[in-house]
């Protein structure tokens, strides 16, 4: 089994990209730590022939859900929390109050993971299926539904 450090080196950028797109840039750091600590805990007992990328992304997806739940718990009805504006290196501002970003966030979890993976990160369906622990067809259906939701201005159906 490869040392955890080299496992992390191999997957860290990918996981971070995934988290930027699912929990947003502000929470990506904390969720990244949670993801790899959780992975480290289970690592010695991992089966040798596991698909490691699928494994770590499945953990990241779970931690992203936890982060979203934490956010929901912290949310106040006053809604007076100022939106964080993140300035990327290219100087292009990224506003998390952006309606499209909000719409992506509001997608049912599986659809969001599917959309992030396929559309934002440009990964193939078979990889997506392994991350989601589902079939290629189901992965495809989730991407389709996600885009449909966004196109319709997003509805609150939980059809995952």
């Amino acid at each position: 089994m490869q040392p955890f450090q080299s496992f992390m080196e191999e997957h860290r950028t990918y996981v971070y990209r995934f988290l930027i797109a699912t929990v947003g840039p502000a929470e990506a750091d904390d969720t990244f730590q949670e993801t790899f600590l959780s992975a480290l805990r289970a690592y010695p007992k991992l089966e040798h022939d596991r698909n490691l990328r699928g494994w770590i992304l499945a953990i990241a997806a779970r931690k992203a859900i936890d982060a979203a739940r934490g956010r929901a718990r912290r949310a106040t009805p006053v809604a007076a929390v100022p939106e964080v504006t993140h300035h990327s290196e290219s100087g292009q501002p990224f506003d998390t109050g952006d309606p499209l970003w909000q719409a992506v966030r509001a997608l049912p979890q599986r659809q969001r993971v599917a959309l992030v993976h396929r559309v934002i990160l440009d990964r193939p369906y078979d990889e997506l299926a392994s991350v989601m622990g589902t079939t290629v067809e189901a992965a495809r259906a989730n991407v389709y539904q996600a885009l449909k939701h966004l196109r319709e201005g997003w509805s609150e159906d939980e059809d995952d």
Partner: protein
Amino acid sequence: MKTTDIERELKQRFSPLLREAPRRSKEAADRLADAAAKRGLLDLAYGFADSPFGRLLLVVSGHGLVRVGYPDRDVDKELEELAATISPRILESATSTDRVRGELDRYFEGRLRRFTVPVDLSVAHGFRRRVLEATARIPFGSVSTYRQVAEKAGSPRATRAAGNALGSNPIPIVVPCHRVVRTGGGLGGYTGGLDRKVKLLTIEGVLDPA
């Protein structure tokens, strides 16, 4: 909005952020070792130290120093070996290796006569372990013979086996196998070259500088 527009919009919106992922993930990964250590999830930590021989690999467990690797050894291979024999929960951590690095620095400057970092010889067993333990007790600035070390390890006639055990010393310098020489006065061998043995014995004042 059309589906293709949404896709394009999403890609455009995210691409500047995603370009930061290599750098930001590196920073986050660098912080993981300390967080893991706090939670008791870090079995082995490694770091590096400068030396007159080049960069040394240092690996510590919760019990002490397990490895000092000379620069001619392949770091990845060493770590893979430790992953197989001790634990794959290995992370790079400057913090965890600070103490031994500091002591080595002072040793090479001739300002440290005794290492205080504990050594963890749990991967060595039987005679080999006893040889390494006996070697660890040879004081700074003095030498023992292979025969004496074999004797202390409980097998006076196993001189050659003692030599072999020292040849595979996982913690050179700190477990001072360079202080073991031949009975007749010859220096004997040293893993990675006799020059190193000469240099270490010169630092300790056993040999005069060339």
